[in-house]
Amino acid sequence: MNSLRLSVIKTLVRQDLYYALKSARGLLFLVFFGVFWFWVLWKLSSGNAQYLANPEASMILSYIIDPKIAQALFVNRAPTLSAFFYLAVSTVPMFVLFAASDQTANDIGSKYLRFLTPRCNRIEIFIGRFIGAVFLVSMAYIVISLFAALISMYVDKDSFSMVMADTPIIILSLILYTIPFVALMSLCSVVVGSAGLSALVGISIYVVFLTLISVVRYKLPDIAGFLSYVIPNSTKPLFLQLNWTSMLSAAVTVPFYVFAYGYLGFMVFKKRDI
């Protein structure tokens, strides 16, 4: 298909990553992300998560979070790594809605896209920016997960083999879980002209749907179950099971989210004035 040239997409992704590391928005995300995780990992390095592996703590956790997830995460696992994973999955929307907010938004506002469109097709720009954002977010999560694994090996004695077994699932789960959020932001960033506004639209959509689902669940649980698939965190409980089978089940939904958000986003981007 001549409208989708892989060499151009590769160049766009490379340039997008280069710009992300040079621009204020990219650095702001990395600093914010780094500081937050430095603080969390610092706390976890003093063994604060180890008591979560006790049967009493598991019982208390079962009241707070899903009992299945509490059992899967904290029974016979490295508690520090599990605590990191639970926090990481829970904070994905906060970081990703921010990190992926500027795929095309600022370039629409500044009209920089007008330098790109004589050289690239709109589909190439749209896909290139999406992949660039996925790479940026993935790299950040890979680095932070490896740090968490090292800390867990040090803190949770005799857990080397468990950490070695769980780290690849954790990294893969985090990457797969973030992708639909990046796709949601690719839709949000084509409708506005600034990254800030794009983040605001993304967060608003997310919060409105979360609230709506909570309210509807109270009266109509079936409809709430259906509605929960509109936003990307419907797969969260599956990823939190921390096993290959659940992860692969959750992974099956990722292409659907990417296609749905991506298709809507591209339809807007294709037809909009830039």
Binding site: N2, S3, R5, S7, V8, T11, L12, Q15, Y18, Y19, K22, S23, A24, S110, K111, Y112, L113, R114, F115, L116, T117, P118, R119, C120, N121, R122, K271, R272, D273, I274
Partner: protein, 307 residues
């Protein structure tokens, strides 16, 4: 083989209820440098943006090099200077040009060489490693012009290429455009009609969102058939009587109040002798002038036509 590099059919664009452009049928000829002019709000930038594919038409269609503006095959065959697009602030401009060249298919090394070449064309080699926020408005304009010269496009569209540039830089940019016009088709929009007159062979005049006229510059400026004088003061209507005795004079046109302009049309069969006769006539009537040019200024003919 196509003769028209761009063709529009009943092209129209509205913003809300407001029609910015309506029912535009134009053909831009291949190998001809064409100017797109008109007063503010005439629809120049809207038409330019539609031709470039930045805006989507509300009605009608456009073909560029025989293709739809969104066609993938058009990529790298046309290059564009957009009027108000901003470069990335935190990346050196030389690097940005390299990035754009790479997107046109140049290898990294070739892209670097191409970036150096186009920066040299706009006399900004020394600014290669500076970020966009360290450069003046005029320099950024020249960088934006430089990106339009990357590669060997078949069609170059330039929106206000000399706006915001000092006279020396304007001259050097005009000379680069002139040199490129031998190899490629160029379309220029500009408020500066001297630039259009200098660089273009044809001009398209827009008025209130509609096509007013599409003419050859030579026809508009009547270089061999008229003399334009800038007088010390506004000419009196009786000045026409002075030339009544000269059979070679075919018509007289007076400028608007304050323009101090007098245009004398003549039969050009007598060549320079006709011009000498007209000058003698003015001298005998004791009418002095500050400036005389052969033909008419595009600025003035376009203004007259738009009245």
């Amino acid at each position: 083989m196509i003769d028209n590099i761009i063709e529009t059919t009943k092209l129209a664009k509205s913003f809300g209820n407001q029609w910015a452009l309506y029912d535009i049928n134009i053909q831009f000829k291949k190998g001809v440098t064409t100017g797109l002019v008109g007063p503010n709000g005439a629809g120049k930038t809207t038409l330019f943006s539609l031709l470039c594919g930045f805006l989507k038409p509300t009605k009608g269609s456009t073909t560029i090099l025989g293709l739809n503006p969104d066609d993938a095959e058009l990529r790298n065959r046309i290059s564009i200077l957009p009027q108000d697009a901003l470069l990335l602030k935190t990346i050196p401009v030389g690097k940005q040009l390299e990035m754009l060249a790479e997107l046109q298919g140049f290898s990294r090394k070739q892209a670097q060489d191409e970036s150096i070449r186009v920066l040299k064309m706009v006399n900004l080699s020394s600014s290669r490693n500076k970020n966009a926020d360290q450069l003046s408005h005029g320099m950024l304009k020249r960088i934006a012009i430089a990106q339009a010269f990357i590669g060997s496009p078949e069609l170059i569209l330039l929106d206000e290429p000399t706006a915001g540039l000092d006279p020396n830089t304007t001259d050097s940019i005009k000379s680069v455009i002139r040199s490129l016009s031998n190899k490629t088709s160029i379309i220029i929009t500009s408020h500066n009609l001297e630039v259009i007159e200098d660089l273009c062979q044809e001009v398209i005049i827009l008025k209130e969102g509609r096509l007013h006229s599409h003419e050859k510059i030579a026809d508009l400026t009547a270089r061999t058939k008229a003399l334009t004088f800038r007088l010390e003061q506004d000419p009196d209507i009786s000045i026409k009587d002075i030339f009544a005795s000269l059979p070679i004079v075919t018509d007289i046109k007076l400028g608007k109040q304050g323009q101090h302009r007098l245009v004398v049309y003549f039969n050009d069969e007598q060549g320079q002798m006709a011009e000498i006769e007209i000058l003698k006539c003015l001298a005998q009537a004791n009418i002095s002038y500050r400036e005389m040019i052969r033909g008419e200024r595009l600025q003035e003919t376009v203004a007259d036509r738009l009245e």
